[in-house]
């Protein structure tokens, strides 16, 4: 189990979710992805993505215009699965 930090600050929608997925493809169940983004759309998009992929949205916090989204990976069928 590892924590993977993805820095997507400065990219616009749909960049942050795209960066999230690139990290997700390499992640395993039990890993935690911390996604940093400045595009406000990430708040709704991270929730939509977690709902669709059945991963766990732990929380989203904001500080100085950066949104930190913490997602626990729980629903990968295999480690290289998308």
């Amino acid at each position: 189990m590892t924590t993977i930090t993805v820095d997507s600050r400065g990219t616009a929608c749909p960049g942050p979710i795209t960066d999230l997925i690139r990290a997700y493809r390499k992640a395993a169940n039990g890993d935690v992805i911390e996604l940093l983004a400045t595009d406000v759309g990430i708040k709704s998009d991270a929730k939509a993505w977690c709902d669709r992929t059945k991963n766990e949205l732990v929380n989203i916090t904001e500080s100085d215009g950066t949104y930190k989204t913490v997602i626990k990976i729980v629903s990968k069928r295999e480690n290289r699965d998308t």
Binding site: G10, T11, A12, C13, P14, T18, L20, I21, A48
Partner: protein, 136 residues
């Protein structure tokens, strides 16, 4: 859930939602089929990206704002978004056989490598089945 996009317009502004919708669908694991027809085919010729630069005249006064805004937020180009969507998800790009005939294109090797095949409208419609269909 799957998405079919009929890409008809040739103006650069319409290629932005093509890129964003396709990338977003790929991100969510939604399969996408894109049917390229009409003026949009010009953007999918070899080096076709350079053909995508006309803006709609009715928005001429707002074009500089759009272009500067896209540059300021470092938005990727529509082409980069399509390429990235194809890497991540199930995205197929088909060129309309009627338009390729009109453009005197005989095989997909004469189109950009991002195009999967040249197909007829019936094949696209059949393949779209119950997909949501979006016309751009």
């Amino acid at each position: 859930m799957a998405l079919s996009i009929i890409m008809f317009s040739g103006t650069a502004d319409k290629f932005i939602p093509l890129g964003v919708l396709t990338q977003t669908a790929a991100n969510l694991g939604v399969p996408v089929s894109i049917f390229v027809t009409g003026w949009a085919l010009a953007g999918f010729l070899k080096d076709g990206q350079k053909n995508v630069n006309r803006m709609p005249v009715e928005f001429a006064d707002m074009v500089p704002m759009l272009e500067k805004g896209m540059h300021d937020i470092k938005a990727p180009s529509w082409y980069e978004m399509l390429k990235s969507a194809k890497e991540i998800g199930d995205v197929k790009i088909y060129a309309c056989s009627l338009m390729t005939e009109i453009f005197k294109i005989k095989s997909k090797e004469q189109l950009d490598g991002i195009v999967d095949d040249i197909v007829g409208a019936a094949s696209f419609m059949q393949q779209s089945g119950q997909n949501q269909i979006i016309f751009i």
